[in-house]
Subunit: 340 residues, 2 copies
DNA sequence: TTGTACGCGTTATCAC
DNA sequence: GTGATAACGCGTACAA
């Protein structure tokens, strides 16, 4: 019963012609007689012949696969980026191989090595936190030196020559902080992560700049730097207990929504007594009670743009080494956790 | 500078030996002299030789790739399943190619066809709603007849012979409904989707059974059936306006969290006046205010089990056609949207 | 101990 | 108009 895939050779044998005739007939080559073409095509259709992708990949040195290596897929932001990549890539006939580094340098390296040996035509990546902390980008450099195109998004580094896509994190944080100040908030806190994460650093800069531009000194006790993007309920609770604040900017939506809860537990009214803004316009932000004002990162568009950049490079024969960095504008989405 | 990938042939030429000698030397074959082996291995290490995956795939007729076709990746449940698959698959040296059907029959078919032509060793799938509505499973049957193993999870069908993994949705709904009744709720509503979705059907059955077992008649006006899993705020609002209820069971966490909001908007206290339970133990459930009591579906374990089943089949030479269906037990996770 | 030949499935080139 | 041959990169049975 197991009618396994039929090959050119099978058709050739059955129809008593040569393999190359079959191949040509199936591509409607001019040099094959109408008669033979029809016979071959009918037979192929009947047995549902489809060329073997692997064989074609070997021949063309093109897999039509894109490797995506990201820290995780639970955070809504990465999720939407993957969706954007999928969308564009599939439309262009590419498959997407997703690998998770889980914020681990080693896993990132292993995944890349697995894929780099012919499995994919190019990489779309966002660096693991460990990689950004170590500042070791040799695995990326090797890959680019082999001529495999790479597109970095969101968590990037300037040490690797490749295309990049980011949002203007600094501007996003600046705008959000400004918004909080405009509401008359005096003690705007920041919940972020250590500076080694490129995005956290930029956001902290934006926050700082907004304060200074408004003539407000930056006070360390209003800034909580967590070691990772992982949720740490204890740390945030402690921060609340020891800090006097009337607004918070959070580096992601999870911290922000959790902050709303703690604030409410402590008897604050949101947004009357305290305003809260997060990064990432995800499910949490939309469906939290109250809903969360956020800096939208446009992950899906970021994914599409990354995919477009990569595929353009892959399909571009001329190997000109021109790399561009695309910077998207973040958008402030106003909801009920701020006074609007 | 572009030192593109080195091949066996390159090494052979450089060292003036034959390709097969190089091949054997690299696998430490006994039949090669210590001398040659060392020379070859040193050279290979120096130039960072790695065998080409595509060539090996073509030869072995094994790609070490798993195709995952799911309706979407935004819903937390599918997200966790993908994570579980990744985890197990990567540990076994497999890559995961993710394709999204976006609930479309056509996309599901196209994606499968793309992958079935040699790109993957097997499929892990959850059916699109359109597929379940049409009840057309020919694309699945074709693939299995070609000898490509398939594992279906969550949204399955009995019309295809393959391994399956599900949770006991009926039991989950039953337990949840029972919980609501035990709290003294008299008018337990259900927000679900049309019956063509296998999981929705089972959950509705569990809900119905729990009511009947408690001697409570099932009343149609307490049941809202939405056409899809897509959020429809309008419909849920209308339902609230026209229905007198003191508890709701929702088929996913989004409907549930949104119901909490509407309830609060309408002046209900949650859980004092109305209790709400959802399916899927995701971010929303955890961080909603109040947090949401849910039926946990254990997506990550489901993913791991699916991957294990598939890889076992892929690597099992004997083609015995024994298919099993694994049924996981759902767990009721109590939080603040019910009185506990 | 090393090398030759062949096959995986496809296509491009060249010969008939 | 059709077919043989080589090539993509690798591994292996067999020959030397």
């Amino acid at each position: 019963m197991l009618k396994s895939k039929i090959t050119l050779k099978d058709i050739a044998r059955e129809l008593e012609v040569s393999v190359s005739t079959v191949s040509k007939a199936l591509k409607n080559s001019e040099e094959i007689s109408r008669d033979t073409k029809e016979k071959v095509q009918a037979f192929a259709r009947l047995y549902n012949y489809k060329p073997n992708n692997i064989a074609i990949s070997l021949k063309n040195k093109r897999t039509k696969n894109i490797g995506v290596v990201i820290p995780d897929i639970v955070h809504y932001f990465f999720n939407t980026v993957v969706r954007g990549i999928e969308k564009y890539a599939n439309a262009k006939g590419y498959n997407v191989i997703v690998c998770l580094s889980e914020e681990s340098f080693d896993k990132e390296v292993i995944n890349m090595e697995m894929l780099a040996n012919g499995s994919i035509d190019g990489f779309i990546m966002s660096l693991s936190s460990e990689t950004q902390a170590k500042k070791d980008y040799n695995h990326l450099k090797e890959v680019t030196q082999q001529g495999i195109p790479v597109v970095l998004f969101d968590r990037i580094t300037n040490e690797v020559d490749c295309d990049k896509v980011v949002i203007d994190d600094q501007l996003g944080a600046y705008t959000a902080t400004q918004k909080l100040l405009q509401q008359g908030r005096k003690r705007v806190a920041l919940i972020t992560t250590d500076d080694y994460l490129s995005v956290a650093k930029s956001r902290t800069e934006g926050y700082t700049k907004a304060l200074l531009d408004a003539g407000i000194p930056v006070r360390d006790e209003l800034i909580l730097k967590l070691p990772t993007m992982e949720m740490d309920e204890e740390a945030i609770r402690d921060f609340f207990n020891n800090t006097d604040m009337d607004a918070i900017l959070c580096v992601n939506e999870i911290f922000a929504v959790f902050s709303i809860r703690i604030a409410m537990e402590k008897g604050f009214k949101v947004p009357e007594d305290i305003s809260i803004i997060g990064f990432t316009d995800g499910m949490l932000a939309k469906y939290a009670n109250p809903s969360l004002t956020v800096v939208a990162q446009h992950g899906e568009r970021m994914g599409e743009i990354s995919a477009k950049m990569l595929i353009d490079k892959v399909e571009d024969e001329s190997d000109e080494e021109i790399f561009q960095t695309k910077i998207l504008e973040p958008t402030l989405v106003l909801r009920d956790s701020t006074i609007n």
